[in-house]
């Protein structure tokens, strides 16, 4: 059962081959047996999951329900879940029981999906390796000495290890796409504003977006369809109907123009990754797509611009953690200033503190123009490059990550090297475009992902391209050794 996709499980449930309760039990048992080594979950919700599964079975027995009814999933611990701890991977929220559900939580519940638990993540979504979590690192199911990627490392590892048929993630600079690539699974970050951020703990408000991890593009179409939609309670939510992503999966690719930015395939690219991408692009050509060389001249500005904008926004968003109304509070504060400083100093880990400080500096008097405004101008140049290119081509393709998964501890002491892990993904968040990563092959026995970038609100086209690719390749069906 753990090897079945969401659509296979939905068919099995409707046919009565097994019940949601049996399926949920099987997933919970598998997690208990295997997750000790991976550490992909922070909180398990066993009894509520079984109760939700039984409710799903009643619905299914009456011939009701939809494609996600009774399907178990793992939920990134950044989404508020009413009555259940929501830690955001941080000591600051270690004892925080969310008093409300995020919109994404509520939508998945309404769709009948069964939440197995909350997954591990880099603290406050800041990281590219899941090594900054208060709850310890997550290990890559393909090689447990390597990282799964971040910040949604727990969700990616859970899906790759077949502990859940799908999981939720969030992506601010690559935190869905990069772990999807490093763990050999499918992940999609939709257009900014497509999925509601209400109840999704904020890191960088102009960059954050939620999306699913699955083992196929078809499954991603199903789950994204349930997660997406306008929400009154998110002032940045876009009021635009959700496309029927599933209906467009079967479109042929003949004539689809695929832009290959010369800046992504240039000198510095890892040769193993380059070989995989070359073969993947050839497969797309065989399907009728037309690869075209394009240029994104301001590509090199993306990481520096992001590491001004994102920390600036995070310094503002994380100012709410003051030890007063919720979250960690230090013992015996001497005065108000001590309460703030020690609650925050003790509650946050060092990467979070680093980013808050960079952000504070960039926004401070005398530096605002030189850093923050400058970065926002660079942001426009980057977004304009994409707009121009997407007038000539339908989709942009390239590697998701510059390397395969690196070893635990390899980059923790060098923040800038860690930041460069997101060199291909970050620009997509700055521009607000939809981006997806799909498994495209292996190098050094580790998964390699191909990133697909689409025009605003063209998630359906990305999913279609990915699905057609997955009809002629089997990378997405490969299982980590020992986890069959």
């Amino acid at each position: 059962m753990h090897n079945k996709t969401v659509s296979e499980l939905a068919a099995g449930l409707r046919a009565g081959d097994f019940s949601s309760e049996e399926l949920t039990h099987a997933m919970l048992d598998r997690i208990a047996a295997l997750d000790g080594k991976l550490n992909s979950f922070i909180t398990m919700t066993r009894e509520p999951a079984l109760a939700a599964a039984r409710d799903a079975d009643s619905l299914l027995a009456r011939g009701e329900g939809g494609p996600l009814t009774g399907i178990p999933y793992a939920h990134k611990d950044i989404y508020c879940t009413r009555g259940v701890r929501t830690s955001c991977g941080s000591r600051m929220l270690d004892r925080f029981i969310a008093p409300y559900d995020a919109t994404v939580t509520a939508k998945l519940e309404a769709a009948g999906a069964v939440m197995l638990g909350k997954t591990n993540m880099d603290e406050f979504a800041m990281g590219s390796s899941n090594e900054t979590s208060y709850y310890g690192p997550v290990r890559n199911p393909w090689d447990q000495d390597r990282v799964p990627g971040g910040s949604s490392g727990g969700s990616a590892a859970a899906v790759a290890a077949r502990l859940a048929p799908f999981a939720t993630g969030t992506d601010t600079g690559g935190s869905i796409r990069q772990p999807a690539a490093l763990c050999g699974i499918t992940g999609i970050k939709p257009t900014y504003g497509r999925v509601s951020r209400y109840g999704m703990i904020a890191f960088a408000s102009s960059l954050d977006q939620g999306g699913p991890f699955t083992r196929s593009a078809e499954d991603a179409a199903l789950v994204l369809g349930a997660m997406a939609g306008f929400d009154e309670r998110d002032s940045t939510s876009v009021d635009r109907p959700v496309d029927d992503y599933v209906a467009q999966l079967g479109n042929g690719l003949r004539g689809m123009r695929i832009g290959l930015p010369r800046e992504y395939f240039g000198e510095g690219i890892n040769s193993g990754v380059a070989q995989v991408l070359d073969a993947a692009i050839e497969a797309l050509r065989q399907l009728g797509a037309e690869p075209v060389e394009v240029s994104l001249p301001n590509a090199a500005l993306a990481v520096p611009a992001y590491y001004v904008v994102a920390p600036a926004e995070c310094s503002s968003n994380l100012s709410r953690y003051d030890g007063v109304r919720f979250g960690y509070r230090c013992d015996d504060p001497r005065d108000l200033e001590d309460l703030y400083k020690r609650s925050r100093g003790e509650g946050f880990g060092s990467e979070v503190k680093r980013r808050i400080m960079i952000g504070t500096y960039a926004l401070s008097a005398g530096y605002y123009d030189a850093y923050y405004l400058k970065a926002q101008r660079a942001r426009r140049l980057i977004a304009d490059d994409f707009r121009r290119v997407l007038q000539e081509v339908d989709v942009i393709a390239g590697p998701t990550s510059p390397t395969v998964a690196f070893r635990l501890g390899e980059k923790v002491d060098d923040p800038v090297t860690m930041y460069l892990s997101d060199i291909y993904t970050i620009a997509v968040n700055l521009a607000g475009l939809p981006g997806m990563s799909i498994p495209a092959g292996f190098s050094e026995d580790m998964p390699v992902g191909m990133q697909l970038i689409g025009n605003y609100f063209e998630e359906a086209r990305l999913l279609n391209l990915a699905h057609q690719y997955q009809q002629v390749t089997d990378w997405h069906l490969r299982v980590p050794p020992g986890l069959e």
């Binding site: 007063v324 400083k341 500096y361 660079a378 426009r380 977004a383």
Partner: protein, 95 residues
């Protein structure tokens, strides 16, 4: 831009973060490395380019001025560190 430990202290104070004295040098080093990295932005000409705060350049959506939220103070304060009579308690602010 090289930051010395006293500048790190100042930034930490603005951000209301306590930093152990033992870690100050490491923070200074790491923050300086990050700032040196983002200096690359200074090499480009952005005159005449409008800053982009929102990826879709969408203005703030407005809604009618009607009450839509209910008071849920008790529920929200159920997990507060220190409350009394509906108030959040903090160390004395005024001497």
């Amino acid at each position: 831009m090289m930051l010395d430990p006293s500048e790190v202290e100042n930034i930490a104070h603005l951000a209301r973060l306590s930093i152990d004295a033992a870690d100050r040098d490491t923070y200074a080093r790491n923050l300086s490395a990050i700032l040196a990295f983002v200096e690359q932005l200074n090499s480009i000409d952005t005159s005449g380019v409008l800053p982009m705060a929102h990826p879709l350049d969408t203005p703030q959506r407005l809604r009618p001025d009607e009450v839509t939220e209910t008071n849920q103070r008790d529920q929200f304060q159920a997990h507060a560190p220190k409350v009394e009579a509906g108030l959040y308690l903090v160390p004395k602010v005024i001497e």
